[in-house]
């Protein structure tokens, strides 16, 4: 059933698994921001080292990470090619009309490549080590201030967690409907694109109907259990700040200092523009 693992959480007990999800989310965003402040090659190497350290700490094998990069590799290479071919400056190795391969071009290609890869790797680290419900909690906690602007943050968080909760049910149901249609003689995965799309209609329609029915029943249950949108609710899921979370913040500070340091002092001249 669960061929598609949403959020692709890998159960584990590693240091990263136990970190506060709020921290993980903010740290990942911070890291991505930091990527754009790096000015030279050694800074990227420093960040790469950190990324690999995290991947090791997560206790998930590198091949899983590679799988995360794979579907995006053509997009990345396309962006890198644009950089390489259309950036001028420095020593020019080859040129043909507007296209040229220059020292600057190659370097900025390398930077673009590094940024893309690290963004994917770091976000994969977060999703692999955090349950989707914990991520929902984190998003909920981080967006709480928006309540002041009368944005129904709690309702959105509940919607998100209920949707996540029903993903397996929906997959199950899709499988059932497909089997039912197969029993009536539909052959999936045959014919041209339009034919294949037509075959999706008898799957999507029953799914819609059953989802609506399910939603109605759930709404009844929620109402009877006293759920009222906009009322103050307490939360049974508690996020607690631990010492290990403080340690992680210290690591982030060291990381930032490292980037500043490498931006100020150049050692590996080869990589510099």
């Amino acid at each position: 059933m669960n061929k598609l693992i949403l959020g692709r959480y890998f159960p584990g007990e590693s240091y990263l698994h136990r970190l506060d999800p709020r921290l993980k989310l903010v740290a990942a965003l911070y890291f991505i921001g930091l990527l754009f402040f790096v000015e030279n090659g050694q800074g990227y190497i420093w960040l790469f080292l950190f990324t690999f350290l995290l991947m090791r700490l997560s206790g998930v094998s590198y091949s899983v990470y590679l799988k995360g990069v794979k579907p995006l590799i053509w997009l990345i290479l396309f962006a890198v090619m644009l950089r390489v071919l259309f950036t001028g400056g420095g020593t020019i190795y080859f040129s043909l009309g507007p296209i040229m391969i220059s020292r600057f071009g190659l370097l900025s290609g390398f930077y673009t490549f590094s940024r893309f890869i690290m963004i994917i790797l770091i976000s994969t680290v977060v999703t692999l080590t955090t349950k989707s419900i914990d991520l929902t909690d984190a998003i909920h906690a981080l967006f709480k201030p928006l309540r002041l602007l009368r944005i129904p943050v709690d309702d959105f968080a509940l919607m998100l967690s209920i949707s996540l909760r029903f993903v397996p049910n929906l997959l199950d149901e899709t499988q059932k409907v497909m089997d039912a249609q197969r029993a009536r003689g539909v052959v999936f995965g045959e014919g041209n694109l339009i034919e294949q799309m037509k075959k999706l209609v008898p799957i999507v329609l029953p799914l819609f109907v059953s989802s609506l029915k399910r939603a109605e029943e759930m709404a009844d249950v929620m109402e009877v259990k006293g759920y009222r949108s906009g009322e103050k609710r307490s939360s049974f899921r508690q996020l607690k700040w631990h010492l290990r979370d403080v340690a992680a913040i210290v690591c982030l500070i060291v990381l930032t200092l490292g980037v500043t340091f490498f931006n100020t002092f150049d050692f590996v001249l080869l990589f510099n523009i």
Binding site: E217, M218, D220, V221, K225, Y227, K232, S234, F236
Partner: protein
């Protein structure tokens, strides 16, 4: 407190479509005493589920009134009354709102805005009652139908209701887990002095009741002790033991008059 009415329904009528004369319920009146187990039986479309939806205020009656704890149910009072009335529906999957067992049990408590420690103890107690505490961290896909239904019951128990309604809540279970769950429920009912209104097709479940209400085409056609009802209404299919007793009687075998439970009948046959 026992013996005083907890739920009284007076002259209740309801139809889903006011353009037609199709009444789902018409002029239904009855009273349920505190601490009783009442069962509602009736064929499909007899208005059983509509009755349940009316009592928890999911739909409004066209005529008549519902009193819970001597307080009338209306648009204003329904949110307060729902704290005293819990309902378990038929499909266990669609009632599971939390991501894990304990989150789901806590859902109703979160709505009451209780503090964390209160919730923790209530979740613990409720899960212990239905014997699901070991499963508190599991998510619904890891549970069987019977286990999910136990969680649904715990979710209602945690709210500490006076009246619990089961709307064909055990249909999806196999006979063995149904019997087990009913036994658990009967114990909980005694322990917490709960009032239970169970809507059911299952004759065995109906015989557990102190009071039986028979609905047919939206009308309450009979009410009373299950034994008496099964004996005097030949159209209502009785539970297996009563069927057997009547068959034996028809064959000219001298069976004691009066209703017998399955165990009593077994004891009589093996005497």
């Amino acid at each position: 407190m026992n013996g005083s009415p907890i739920l009284s329904v007076k002259d209740l009528s309801f139809r889903y479509d006011i353009r037609t004369d199709d009444y789902a319920l018409s002029a239904v009146s009855f009273t349920i005493k505190r601490g009783d187990w009442a069962a509602v039986i009736g064929d499909n479309g007899s208005g059983k589920s509509t009755l349940a939806r009316l009592i928890v205020g999911l739909v409004e009656p066209e005529q008549g009134s519902i009193f819970i704890n001597n307080c009338i149910l209306n648009e204003q009072s329904k949110w307060d009354l729902r704290k005293k009335v819990g309902i378990v529906f038929q499909n266990p999957d669609n009632q599971f709102i939390g991501t894990t067992v304990q989150d789901d049990v806590a859902f109703g408590l979160e709505n009451l805005n209780l503090d964390y420690h209160e919730m923790e103890t209530r979740v613990f107690q409720a899960l212990k009652l239905v014997d699901m505490y070991h499963f508190r961290d599991k998510d619904p896909s890891q549970l069987s139908g019977g286990q999910k239904q136990r969680v649904a019951i715990a979710g209602v128990l945690a709210l500490q209701p006076d009246l619990m309604i089961f709307d064909e809540a055990f249909v999806m279970l196999d006979p063995k887990s149904r019997r087990e769950l009913l036994k658990v429920l009967k114990n909980i009912q005694k322990k917490l002095n709960l009032t239970i209104l169970s809507i059911t097709h299952d004759r065995e479940e109906a015989t557990l009741a102190d009071q039986l209400l028979v609905l047919s085409a939206g009308k309450l056609i009979d009410q009373g002790e299950p034994q008496a009802i099964f004996q005097k209404n030949p159209d209502i299919e009785p539970p297996f033991a009563e069927q057997l007793r009547q068959e034996l009687k028809g064959k000219g075998i001298e069976v004691p008059d009066g209703y017998m439970t399955e165990d009593e009948l077994v004891a009589w046959i093996c005497r």
